[in-house]
Assembly symmetry: C2
Homo-oligomer: 336 residues x 2
Amino acid sequence: MASDPDDPRIGDISEGEVLRAILARTPAGASTMIGPGDDAALIAAPSGSVVATTDTLVHGPDFRTEWSSGYDLGWKSAAVNLADVAAMGATPTALLVALAVPRETRLSFVAEMADGFRDACEALAPGCAVVGGDLTVSELLMIAVTALGDLGGRRAVTRGGARAGDVVALAGELGVAAAGLQTLFRLFRDGSTPVPVDRGVLDAGQRRGLDRQLRPAPPVGLGATASVGGATAMMDVSDGLAIDAGRMADASGATIDLVGAALDELAFGGDRQRAIGGGEDHGLLAAFPPDGAVPEGFRIIGVVVPRRSDAVLVDGEPIPRAGWDPYRDWDGVVSG
Amino acid sequence: MASDPDDPRIGDISEGEVLRAILARTPAGASTMIGPGDDAALIAAPSGSVVATTDTLVHGPDFRTEWSSGYDLGWKSAAVNLADVAAMGATPTALLVALAVPRETRLSFVAEMADGFRDACEALAPGCAVVGGDLTVSELLMIAVTALGDLGGRRAVTRGGARAGDVVALAGELGVAAAGLQTLFRLFRDGSTPVPVDRGVLDAGQRRGLDRQLRPAPPVGLGATASVGGATAMMDVSDGLAIDAGRMADASGATIDLVGAALDELAFGGDRQRAIGGGEDHGLLAAFPPDGAVPEGFRIIGVVVPRRSDAVLVDGEPIPRAGWDPYRDWDGVVSG
């Protein structure tokens, strides 16, 4: 790669220079008491507890730079962690970002990533901000984000609180991100090798799927809303509704019976199988007591019933489990 | 690699199986309110704020599996983050661990890593525990740890509070980890390729250096002690005393004048240059007001003086900056 003084390679400048470029793009948040630059950050935790989660994107199994820009990767790695904080009923307060970056990476790529972190926070979780990070040179691009959140004095909403009789509701989309992944696999590979995306060849539906695959938009604010609204259980739908509803059912010692007609109404492109099996939509799946209304933004898609042999049913019938397992699916699809 | 049903490769089993093996080895801590298994963890933050830091170890620049066992890596990645929490004057409460692991890695290697996380917490920061994590398959082994901590109601001790007249004191060692790195580079490489360590050929001093390089033992508990004892500034010495004292001096708008005789007394093997320039000892460097005693465990090594052109002096004289820069030093030494 040619030398470019205006956009140096990460390996040619100091860690301090890279961090300064990132931090110039990520302002402090409402809960930031001490931001980047010291040994550690300090974040307000007014509830006397802190929600914390970490999720990593690794080049290869989780993304390809032929398909995702730096901005996309910053956005997505923030969004998936914000969704996990929301799924506890909490409001995100802070992100810590550990970047491992190949030395030939351009500074502009890392700067765009910082823009993605910032914009995802502003759009999905206003007040949340990057408070710290770490930068390492590496042969492989990896982004490990930790998100923190505050419960606003409420109890955490776990996966295990759903009770027979509760209604099951979803905030967010079903099958959109999976449609985007299908578009990438079908249209933007040369053999098994990813090639850059040409949006010009896509129709509106394909573009929407692609946008959500690359920049998921989980309904982060509805996590706290659901908690205030009495949610008995909640989780982020990241691996597909069938798998994730099964996890909630298992944790709650119950079975979740989904309503086929409701799934069909929500299923992107009318594809119920993809809606149930496809991952990465990062909607919020929640259970609510039977005697109240579900909060605005949630749509009822099923009920909790006493435990059967199957954790998840559709209209009372078993469904095969399906979803995204990075250990199997990626290699199966990309190299197969 | 041959198949072994008792010690499968990570790529041959599910993410859930791997996580269960890790979690069976990492008990809950004193501050764990909700541990691993949900969308996020919940950790007590009694001060109404939370200290948070993240630091990553990447195969290549930060470690080599020829030199470090899984246990060593678990220990070290925990220890370096615990040290950063301590450096704010806080007590560590929780670790989140993001692992990116090649698919051919044995389950036993990851399990040993979990033992290292646990034992480092028990030894260095009792009550702190792994509360969550993430596992991804990757071509490259990477360990990104986030550590959280609580200030016990005290103010955070930053790098920027040292004032002219303060004494400068150190808890921990100087040059031991660097001696260990020298031993690895000098004795356990074939050309530029790392080869497994044979401890049998080492003398007691070399073994001590190696132990500290692979399993650092920062004085984590003394972080809170220093805060209670009135420290005006504090930081973790990770990149070498010259560089890190310079950072404290810069942040404080002052100069730090180190006492050569004190450095010589502390310098491992009597090597002052290595003691000043070598990194990874993870001692705590702190400034204290001139009118009190420094807490037990700290030794006075200098004074804060009004700002000069140099950030750090020894006996009033400038020293060249030296330390560990992963962008330059590793490649310079290992491939050179």
